[in-house]
Symmetry: C2
Subunit: 344 residues, 2 copies
């Protein structure tokens, strides 16, 4: 197809190039009928205005990057939808960048800052244990969303939207204790991994302690296979298989993600055992599959939509006023499914 | 924190600003030791080169956009990972843009082209029934990946990577027929929706016909609720519930996506029925949950990794040589799970 230029449009409309340019750029100094004719002609001829300065300006200043740890977690999908909608509503571009589990998200962000003129950054997931000095290197407004934040970070120095992972996993493990379970295993991330697994393990330990149960390290399963994504069904499956094949006794499993819980269920079924009659299983995140799995899985549901909306709102506030800081902690819900049961 | 400028770096190194600029831009006309010193100093001071021209040039020309229909389909996650890896390897930026089900992806692409200087576009998912004229409006190299392509499009005019949806769904339904099922229901997208549901329905009808089974429209379930995503677990659940509550007889269900199949399973379990003893269920896509569901779900597995790699390879070939066109059709595998069984 022939490429239509601004000159062609001018010729067709019988006006000068500068008039076409005025129409495109919504300049006030142009006759309304002429403008209409030009825009109509542009549309008919599929002419794409090639105003470099304008395009570059847009590109330069209007991108919001979402840095995500673990794109495979369906938990993030509903949040991404909200981000995208709100970002486009404000006429910004949306750049999604996945951060590998072993990568440092702030390094990735600094690199992105260098390459692009970002207007804002959302860190989704992950675990923040960077020094304040390091965070301060970032010149672009950012919000930490749904990830864990280590105590190292003075929360006054940054904006964040999260649930309290320690408290929420405490809520779940305490629930299992109150159902009568005394031998509760946990499937979590490796101790070396800076992740929310750490915080959820902390909540587990705290709940056992408060229920006068001893912590048995053999019931704490870490991912020691680097090739396995620590939040995946496959990891949950392998970990539960190992547990079932050991001589460690347990009546309940707390998986630090729903995907892990699904994998663990599968391993239990493969052994010919039943859920919840033989073992109770609990997850964390509240993704759809917990309802559709058979049996449905008891979980901690984070209010993802509200959290995403707040993340975006706070980011835009910070873009307006760079000194703005806001931290918001949401409370999650314990959703009781058919995968957990009272024992005596 | 104090912002370090190019002048600070020059001062610290005892050189002129133009020398620092040469070091940053990898200019040959600079002493190697001086260059090393400058780069080291830049690193130590976390100086971020702010060479607008260079940055803008990069932005302008090095973005590859992935337009995706239905980001919630976990089927795409493994493909996105491959795209991202390969795109970054080539020093391009990766822009993910979700297209709403009711949106026209080519319109969205033309809009993106206008806003950004894209280097290439991957259309992921969706269903292509655009006129060749419309496709030709796109000035940027593109590849259609894993979506359905209607017969309207002369495939010689574009690059694509796909499986044959008609043939693959034929394979599944034929398998169900060979197991002895004579009353097979299908859960698919609305007839008005331009989607792969259309092609998969076609394969279903063809298989029934070839097995001398009549097509009963009461066993064809369409999504008539606009608020429901046609590929979701929730839709599968609602559709199967409706089917179970009707007086339509069926012994097997072919769901046009695995997520629909999972939802359908849940509805069957809720009615107190068993899978596969009372009903056989089959899905399509081959996502992880088909293995981890209990029972595991019989499905069509598309070779997603290979397909993603081929998509990217073809796109880069087209970027190198704009006249390059390649179409590739992959064969999928029928994975037999525990959700289907022979009947007499």
């Amino acid at each position: 197809m022939e490429v239509t230029t601004i000159k062609d449009i001018a010729r067709i409309c019988g006006v000068g190039v500068s008039t076409v340019s005025r129409a495109i750029n919504n300049h006030p100094d142009i006759n309304e009928d002429t403008k209409k004719l030009i825009l109509k002609t542009i549309k008919e001829h599929n002419y794409i205005p090639n105003n470099s300065a304008r395009n570059l300006k847009r590109l330069e200043s209007n991108t919001i990057a979402v840095l995500i740890k673990g794109i495979t977690n369906p938990f993030f999908n509903s949040m991404l939808k909200v981000f995208e909608k709100e970002i486009h509503k404000k006429k910004y571009s949306f750049l999604l960048h996945r951060v590998e589990e072993q990568e440092d998200e702030v390094d990735v962000a600094l690199e992105l800052e260098k390459e692009k003129r970002l207007k804002g950054i959302i860190f989704l997931g992950g675990y923040f244990s960077h020094s304040v000095e390091k965070l301060n290197q970032m010149k672009v407004p950012f919000v930490l969303s749904t990830g864990g934040i280590s105590e190292i970070i003075d929360k006054k120095n940054c904006s964040y939207v999260m649930v309290d992972d320690v408290q929420e996993s405490y809520r779940m493990v305490d629930y299992l204790c109150k159902l009568g379970h005394k031998k509760i295993a946990i499937i979590t991330t490796p101790p070396s991994e800076e992740s929310i697994g750490k915080l959820r393990l902390e909540g587990y330990k705290k709940a056992l302690k408060d229920n006068q149960l001893s912590i048995d390290s053999r019931r704490i399963l870490y991912n020691d296979d680097e090739s396995l994504d620590s939040f995946s069904m496959k990891y949950g499956y392998e970990a539960a298989k190992k547990l079932l094949e050991s001589d460690v006794e347990f009546t309940a499993v707390f998986a630090i993600s729903d995907s892990i819980a699904v994998g663990a269920c599968k391993a239990i079924f493969e052994k010919g055992k039943r859920i919840p009659e033989d073992y109770s299983i609990a997850g964390y995140d509240g993704i759809d599959i917990t309802f559709y799995y058979h049996p449905s899985i008891t979980t901690i549901r984070q209010p993802t939509i509200e959290m995403a909306e707040e993340t975006i709102r706070i980011l835009f506030e910070t873009i307006e006023d760079s000194s703005y800081k806001e931290g918001k902690i949401f409370t999650a819900d314990l959703i009781v499914g058919n995968s957990t049961k009272r024992i005596r």
